[in-house]
């Protein structure tokens, strides 16, 4: 079942993969992002960030708000390079 649940839709990362990474000792959203690419796609983790936080909270027995958030990096929405190049 977990193999059919997609947590990161941009990079096709399933709940099963997230759980396995947590069981291997990855402790934060940032660590999971670097090893799996979850949160690196066009939406930049807007969907998966909190879902991964929930899984980490469950695994470590803490509240979701205690899970360390990753850096929020610009730009907030994808922007074409051509548009940026034309900026004055």
């Amino acid at each position: 079942m977990d193999k059919e649940i997609f947590v990161c839709r941009c990079e096709d990362i399933t709940l099963a993969q997230i759980k396995e990474l947590i069981s291997q000792g990855h402790r934060t959203i940032d660590e999971i992002k670097r090893v799996s690419r979850a949160g690196m796609g066009p939406c930049q983790g807007r969907t998966c960030r909190m879902l991964i936080a929930q899984e980490l909270a469950k695994a470590y027995g803490v509240n979701v708000e205690e899970v360390l958030m990753p850096s929020f990096r610009p730009p907030v929405k994808p922007i074409k390079l051509g548009l940026l190049a034309g900026g004055e």
Partner: protein
């Protein structure tokens, strides 16, 4: 955490993990790697992920050439459960001035004498390699087909995984806060999680290695310097080699995943631990890359970030034992090209510490070269 060790390595980047593995492989027990955050949280995880052999100094050419050979077999050698994503689709270096072109001619002569398969191409030849390249103003280019890309996260995890299998302890979220030195020898490492006795300490802390050295009262000439990068959405494969223009201070490659990764060095960047992104970078790099590689104008940027180069005065590393604190080694100052030379550096440093013959000479990287004025000045840095 354990109270004793044979060797403590400070820094859980590619350098620290490669060194830990190479020492463990040579039979050293009780190695501890200390990392203040998580593996790859520093410069390794923020680098441009390129692997090139086209350098202007013999030392860098050899370090890179030997490392490429190691990247080629790394998945197998380390028995890695995933993939380091090593691809060899080349590097194309662009020359826009006569001075640059003359320097390239010298570089190519050196590189070829060392057995690096590099060639000089005219603008049309460069366009044959990268069809969407704008060749306006281009004088020529150099190309090496065995240069390439590897995934810095996976290379580091591959070394860490292999090191752990050999008994290395990797302590993440453990910050070094001081040392105890006795009779000119390092004795103990103090961390926020307790103290560890260690007769040998290796400082692989990248841009923070100067701060670490200060904790034993020593100054090493390694300075933090912010460099920025961005990544686009993944698109169909369209560009094989990494394209570099030293004239524009820019590099741009399409990684195996399909995204373009590009970065720019700012010659006016001050020495500082600032690693925040800036909007100026986005505009500047976009203007330059759209000029050099026009079809990229329609590709979207999804994320930008920054990291710290560990700059040394001649843009080359310091690999040496401190004179006044025996057992304390510096392996830092890689100045933006540490990732690509980490495999062979791990071997060299392990051999140096164990008193073995080193695979490449370590002496040129001695810290006293600066006081003697014998700089290994490397020009080919973005």
């Amino acid at each position: 955490m354990q109270k004793t060790s044979s060797i403590v390595i400070i820094g859980g980047g590619v350098m620290g993990c490669a060194l830990a593995y190479q020492l463990a492989r040579r039979g050293v027990k009780d190695i501890v790697v200390l990392e203040k955050e998580y593996l790859t949280s520093g410069a390794t995880g923020r680098c441009g992920a390129g692997v090139r052999q086209q350098w202007a100094t013999e030392t860098n050419c050899l370090l890179a050439k030997e490392s490429v050979r190691m990247f080629e077999n790394m998945n197998e050698e380390l028995g890695y459960s995933k993939d380091i994503e090593f691809k060899q689709k080349g590097y194309l270096l662009l020359a826009y001035t006569d001075a640059q072109w003359n320097q390239f001619k010298k570089n190519v002569k050196l590189q070829q004498s060392l057995g690096i398969p590099v060639e000089m191409v005219d603008p049309q030849g460069a366009k044959d390699i990268v069809p969407h390249l704008n060749i306006e103003g281009l004088i020529g280019a150099t190309y090496c087909g065995t240069d390439g890309h590897a995934n810095p996260f996976h290379v580091t995890y591959a070394y860490a995984e292999a090191a752990r299998k050999l008994g290395v302890k990797i302590e993440t979220y453990t910050e070094v806060i001081g040392f105890e030195v006795e009779k000119g020898k390092v004795k103990k490492v103090k961390t926020n999680k307790g103290d560890i006795y260690a007769p040998i300490v290796v400082n692989c802390a990248g841009a923070h290695s100067g701060e670490i050295a200060k904790m034993v009262g020593e100054e090493i000439p390694v300075y933090p310097e912010r460099h920025q990068a961005l990544v686009t959405e993944p698109v169909e494969s369209m560009q094989d080699p990494m394209v570099i223009s030293f004239h524009h201070h820019i590099y741009c490659q399409q990684v195996p995943h399909g995204s373009f990764v590009m970065g720019m060095g700012d010659p006016n960047e001050p020495t500082s631990f600032n690693q925040k992104s800036s909007w100026q970078f986005l505009e500047e790099v976009a203007q330059k890359v759209v000029n050099i590689l026009p079809p990229l104008k329609d590709i979207r940027v999804v994320r930008q970030w920054a990291g710290l180069y560990d700059m040394s005065p001649d843009a080359n590393p310091i690999i040496d034992e401190l004179v006044r604190v025996k057992g304390f080694y510096t392996v830092a100052g890689f100045s933006g090209h540490g990732f690509m030379v980490a495999p062979i550096t791990g071997v060299m440093v392990a051999q140096m510490i164990l008193g073995e013959q080193t695979v490449l000479p370590v002496k040129p990287f001695g810290i006293d070269r600066f006081s003697r004025g014998e700089y290994l000045l490397e020009h080919s840095v973005v």
